[in-house]
């Protein structure tokens, strides 16, 4: 376990412009972050690619250290987040097949981004529902809501239609739709957490 206080001191030294701080950061975190990245992404990335992604992430931090807020997160997680984002971009650009693109969603979502905040991710709704049906769907309404959700549907009216709520006042439609969507999001989050632990 890397001492967060030590990383915080390194950050202070980086901000102060001390030349030895960067090397200490590389020595401390480069290998662990590369190993963590490969653990998350698996064989989709070679060891060399993981190393290069982490190098580039550390350099990105070093060139703009004030973008990192130590009050919000640890430096290890910050650099890992940059590397993960670049890894997913690399794999997406490489045109990885649909099965692995589903894994992109899980990885992106593990950082706290919702599906709607990742418009560039094309989701494979059929694959997700087929593979995780039991965890996500309890009734026909859940399935309809999930399909719309994974398609990035934002309009309440669309959800209200599939749930048969169009006869209700607008405010009640919104409330009922929100309850359903929140339930689906919670199940998706639990699913991501479970997959991350595997």
């Amino acid at each position: 376990m890397i001492d967060r206080a030590r990383l915080d001191r390194i950050h202070e030294r980086v901000v102060a412009g001390e030349p030895t701080a960067s090397a200490e950061l590389f020595v401390l975190v480069h290998h662990p972050i590369a190993a963590t990245l490969r653990k998350r992404v698996g064989t989709l990335l070679s060891w060399e690619e993981a190393c290069d992604l982490v190098t580039d992430a550390i350099v990105a931090y070093l060139k703009a250290p004030t973008k990192f807020d130590p009050a919000r997160a640890g430096l290890f997680g910050y650099v890992l987040m940059i590397a993960k984002g670049d890894a997913l971009n690399l794999l997406r650009d490489r045109g990885v097949n649909e099965k692995n693109r589903e894994r992109f969603v899980e990885l992106l979502s593990a950082d706290g981004n919702t599906v709607e905040e990742t418009p560039n991710v094309k989701l494979d709704a059929e694959r997700i529902m087929a593979k995780h049906h039991r965890e996500l769907i309890r009734d026909d309404g859940d399935e309809a809501v999930l399909r719309l959700y994974l398609d990035g549907e934002k309009e309440t009216s669309a959800y209200a239609t599939v749930l048969g709520l169009t006869g209700l006042p607008g405010s009640e439609q919104q409330r009922e739709v929100k309850v359903r969507k929140d339930r689906i999001e919670l199940r998706l989050k639990r699913l991501r957490d479970d997959l991350d632990e595997q």
Binding site: G17, E18, P19, T20, A21, S22, A23, E24, F26, V27, H30, H31, A34, E48, C51, D52, V54, T55, D56, I58, V59, L62, K63
Partner: protein, 123 residues
């Protein structure tokens, strides 16, 4: 490969990768070497281990306003004799200046050996 060897290998790769970025000492090391960072050659020149060269390479370049102190700090953190590192960095800076002032052509010409079939420069 042991975990330590893997980590060092990864850091050597990182040093090579940042050697094209003037922000890092690695770039100066690469300038001295030519086109590619040769950690072993630098280690021989500095009289230190390859791991020390990698450590120094991943430092950011000494600041102009505190060059001496920064080089001392880099040397101490890396396990390199400070006087050798200073001399090396000054030599590397000279080489870089020579190259950037089209001295590279003269350097190449000076290296040509007529016995190897190279053309002699016009007088």
């Amino acid at each position: 490969m042991s975990n330590e060897a893997t980590a060092l290998s990864a850091l050597m790769r990182a040093a090579a990768r940042v050697s094209h970025d003037e922000t890092f000492v690695a770039a100066t090391f690469r300038e001295w070497c030519g086109d590619t960072l040769d950690v072993d050659a630098v280690a021989t020149e500095l009289g230190c281990e390859a791991s020390a060269v990698v450590r120094a390479a991943l430092c950011t370049s000494p600041r102009a306003e505190s060059f001496g102190a920064d080089v001392q700090a880099i040397a101490k953190a890396s396990g390199i004799a400070p006087e050798r590192l200073i001399a090396f960095l000054r030599e590397a800076a000279s080489i870089a200046a020579f190259r950037s002032g089209n001295g590279g052509q003269l350097l190449a010409a000076a290296r040509d050996n007529p016995e190897d079939g190279g053309e002699e420069p016009e007088s």
